[in-house]
Symmetry: C2
Subunit: 637 residues, 2 copies
């Protein structure tokens, strides 16, 4: 008998604040708009053809496949997001759309369960011929995730049954058996989906298949090499220009991978699956590998906005350690979402705030930046510095958009940000055998089992957090609270020492108990490692998890020399009218006055003093096009 | 009756020093090695096939064309260089090779004079079908330049006759007449060659054709647009990704072009031809356009090493103003050579040291860097910063080599640096109606007409310059000497005021007269315009025309944080043993000690003090692979 996979999302209600408002906008605006987009109903936007492909496969309409080989995944991710949404906010329109898709998905697969409309509809395409590039298994993963979300949302096993038929086909097809293919997905995603499916269905085979995929990866004889030879491939695709098999995280077996590399989204999804399997199976080698990759990423590959991906023909790959350019950063919204997925799973492996800190950083900066204030425009690439003239003209910035756009030809990010925000409860709170753990601070209520908690806070704008226990299980139970550099009290009494950044409050809880803290939110200047050339001689401004940017609209152009002196007083300013309320950073900034000449021996350019108004990075670009930068000059005097 | 075109190169002998030694190495090593290269006789190197194509066209061997559509130009540029060399240093080996080529060139063209082995030998290629991309006219230009150089070197009209046959064909084919093609070269070069041919032959038609090509460019109806339509071209080639017709400097007529743009080498050759025509015809509009483009280039597009070309799919285009990245600079050797060619022609239009200053800067830095100390290895792209790991891994640095290489598949730069250095006399001295002008300071003798001058100096390492008049014409004559910030004396008496950076010494000269100065050569810190992000918070070190770089081999790695404090004492140091003697800059430098973490709120990283040894940029990379950078941190304290 299938069982729900995780914390039911309706247990957690974000009641207000930055996260609550974003989640609400996704639910009331973004999801409906995206439904129109994938149904080709947005005038002027590039047609997606994604739902239409499914209709053709289901036999409802005639036509040819159109779009990218992973076009199916846009529908699946949207469906997953919608199924998250209706768990905590029923919506007849969304439910109708969901049902429409369920009906299509029941009829679209081949008789043996195979589902990938690209391969099904393209006359020249054949199953399993190019597992490296054609995203069959990736799309299967996204569909399975959607099916599990649908089951969690509705209790119906209709979609789960379709997913199991597909997974059973995969389980028959792939493996170490004599007639099986020893392969793995070119784009990881299926692995973590199969772990979810195993939990939902109670069928361990799916998890075993996930582990097979993960452990077979990069082994010798090398599947992608042999497959490419069968295709008589003359040279690897341009996107693997430098990385070779590491582009697909398939250069060596995963337990031998020590540095995060290759396509950043693929890496995040793979590492997330490794963490899943380590949790489910207790595999120490996978856990160790995850930790090594995590440490290396955080120490040498992480953008200050909580993003990854700095180079490559498409820009989307990990580069060398410390190579974190700001003007041609990729920092794909999907990669930051993948990073959150991985971080959240690392928290399951080990309740250590290092993961929650990065997860929160990615959320408030790189992920939220991916979606406009109106909920209908998106960044795929998230630059840390923009100079519109240069950005538009420079070939190496060709992937960077200077403003959010309504949709993309490759539209992976929009539904991804929708499903992340619609399932944010999963990232805010987790349950353990002895209680609950709180990872994110936001105004919310948590009602699960015998627990009822109310979190009151204006974080991240203000530091005060008050958690009221409204109901608790009988007997001792643990509430684990991320410390966030604060001194916590329980009913006014110091709460004691944190363990790995979490207060482990094990006690008999009573209704009315109050856990409280004032999380320190000083305005901070942050410098990067001296090998990060884009940040040399520069600082970024941050306050709590929020990284700030300066924009031309507030300061005029010429931001490359815009900066602050060491003695400049900086303070937070609550601006109720800005985007419904944000805290900006204000103070005094300076900028060098542009000289006539390109080169001069006089080192001291005259400067002008200008009022500083730094805005939260995720909010940038909502006021027209202009220069923007995070790393501003650090003038010693 | 043909007449020699310019200053005979044997009138100027570089007797020693940086320039003399380089010129000698080119003559004794580089040219012979290149002759082997274009004859496919260097084991292990990519075969060039360039001479072989000519042999096939001449009917001496059977075979198919191989190489790029501009492969012919490698031979022509080599021949031009060799013909310069033998003007001042007779060499039987070179003369034999030259004669071999003359013989081939007499037999390779079609009966009507047409010469472009790519089109002649490729069965599918047809004349004049793709003037934008196929370099027919570019190759014609290089051949004509070689023919003029051969005539200047030998007095023989054999090659000049071949060139005239070709030019006559072009003159019949292109123009505004009813049966003529109103087109122009995709890669300018022919234009300046035709001006040379007109001078050598006394036939003004060639110059008129050059002017037609220059003025037709970018006019409406637009030839390249129509030609592309005839080819049913679906989209422009990737290299014109952003620039469109501006890639070919054909977006508007040249007299309306205000900002240097597009492919940098093409731009330099075009602007050089415009300056030629302005000089020959007195066309004020062309002169004005040249000056506007020059001013804009110097104020916003010039690398500190005297190079241009900062972006584009291949990296070789002008980018936005101030967009001068250091780690993915192109600064192609050919573009710097083109810049010298243009600058030299601007000096003919107006004896103003602003042109000589840039010409000298390009020569001592970007151009000399293109050739290794051994005379057999080349940079095509000249980076201003290298971190071998990043450079090799980053896709946007894929054109950058971390070390000089023996040859290139696209080998435009090696013979170009050979012809530039072998004709350097043309850049050092020019003649005017009233005398001579001296633009470059180097130990040399100048014997021309009634003039005999001896220049003694150790410039650019030492500032003292002594020019002795050993013979002079009777009566008043002018010697124009570039001032170079020095106080000049004539026979010990102050020489008076300079006009536009040149001392105009008009007097009756006597043997034994001495013009002398001590050119100030302080070690200078140079900062860039604050919009140049790669140089923000950084300085470059320079002394006279020499720009310096720091290398890992002298300082260890981690150069991004390597820098100097404002109070650091810097001094020049003559190092007799380094590459036969160079002046380095020494003093005390600092470097931040690398921390463990990627981001920190502590802004003051501990620093270590290290001895500074900055080497002349053009000499970098002669001691193995390692980090290098020009822009080093400018620590205020």
């Amino acid at each position: 008998m299938p069982t729900p996979t995780a914390f039911p999302l309706n247990a957690i209600r974000f009641t207000d604040g930055v996260l609550g408002e974003r989640i609400e906008r996704v639910g009331t605006t973004t999801l409906l708009r995206q439904w129109d987009a994938i149904n080709d109903r947005i005038p002027g936007a590039l047609p997606s053809h994604a739902v239409r492909n499914l209709r053709i496969a289901a036999g409802d309409v005639e036509g040819e496949f159109d779009g990218l080989c992973f076009q199916d995944s846009d529908v699946a991710k949207w469906l997953e997001a919608a199924c998250y949404r209706i768990q905590f906010a029923p919506d007849p329109k969304l439910s109708a759309a969901i049902n429409e898709l369920v009906d299509l998905y029941e009829r679209a697969p081949d008789d043996d369960g195979y589902l990938h409309t690209y391969t099904q509809l393209k006359p020249e395409a054949k199953r399993w011929e190019n597992l490296r590039d054609l995203h069959e298994l990736y799309c299967a993963g996204h569909f399975i995730e959607a099916a599990v979300a649908h089951f969690d949302a509705t209790g119906s096993t209709r979609l789960l049954t379709v997913a199991r038929n597909l997974a059973d086909l995969l389980d028959r097809t792939f493996g170490e058996g004599p007639d099986q293919i020893r392969a793995y997905p070119g784009h990881p995603e299926l692995e973590l989906a199969l772990v979810k499916l195993a939990r939902a269905s109670g069928e361990i085979r799916y998890q075993n298949l996930a582990e097979f995929f993960v452990r077979e990866r990069g082994r010798s004889p090398h599947y992608f090499v042999e497959e490419a030879n069968r295709r008589q491939e003359k040279q690897p695709p341009v996107w693997a220009y430098f990385d070779g098999q590491a582009y697909w995280q398939a250069h060596v077996p995963v337990t031998e991978q020590t540095e995060p590399g290759g396509h950043a989204v693929r890496a995040m999804y793979l590492y997330a699956a490794m963490a899943d399997l380590a949790r489910e199976t207790g595999a120490v080698d996978l856990k160790r590998s995850c930790q090594r990759l995590w440490d290396e990423m955080v120490a040498r590959h992480l953008y200050i906005i909580g993003g990854v991906g700095a180079d490559g023909p498409g820009g989307e790959n990990f580069s060398e350690p410390y190579d974190l350019p700001d003007d041609r950063s990729y920092a794909e919204t999907c990669a930051a979402i993948g990073l959150m997925m991985w971080a959240r799973r690392m928290l399951d492996l080990s309740l250590d705030s290092q993961y929650a800190d990065v997860m929160e950083l990615a959320l408030y900066n790189n992920v939220l930046a991916g979606l406009s204030q109106d909920g209908c425009h998106y960044f795929y690439v998230n630059p840390l510095a923009v100079n519109p003239g240069e950005t538009r003209r420079r070939y190496d910035c060709r992937m960077v958009k200077t403003q959010r756009v309504p949709w993309f030809g490759c539209a992976c990010c929009p539904p991804n940000v929708a499903r992340l925000l619609s399932s944010l409860g999963h990232y805010a709170v987790s349950k353990s055998s002895v209680g609950l753990a709180l990872h994110l601070f936001a105004p919310m209520t948590i009602k699960h089992g015998d627990w009822a908690l109310r979190v009151e806070t204006r974080y991240p704008w203000e530091g005060e957090v008050k958690i009221t226990v409204e109901a608790a299980p009988e007997g001792e139970a643990e509430l684990a609270i991320r410390q966030a550099r604060a001194d916590w009290t329980v009913n006014g009494t110091a709460a004691g020492e944190a363990v790995m950044g979490y207060l482990r409050l094990l006690r008999v809880w009573q209704p009315g108990d109050v856990i409280a803290a004032e999380i320190p939110l000083p305005v901070e200047r942050i410098r990067a490692h001296p090998r990060v050339t884009s940040a040399a001689g520069r600082v970024a401004l941050a306050r709590g998890p929020i990284v700030y940017a300066v924009e031309e609209v507030d300061h005029g152009g010429g931001l490359p020399s815009f900066g602050i002196t060491r003695d400049a007083a900086l303070s937070p300013r609550w601006e109720a009218d800005a985007w419904g309320g944000v805290t900006t950073i204000v103070g005094q900034a300076v900028r060098e006055l542009p000289p006539e000449t390109l080169y001069e021996t006089n080192l001291n350019l005259p400067r002008e003093t200008v009022p500083l108004r730094a805005v939260p990075y995720a909010w940038w670009g909502n006021r027209g096009e202009g220069e923007m930068r995070i790393w501003i000059r650090d003038y010693e005097s």
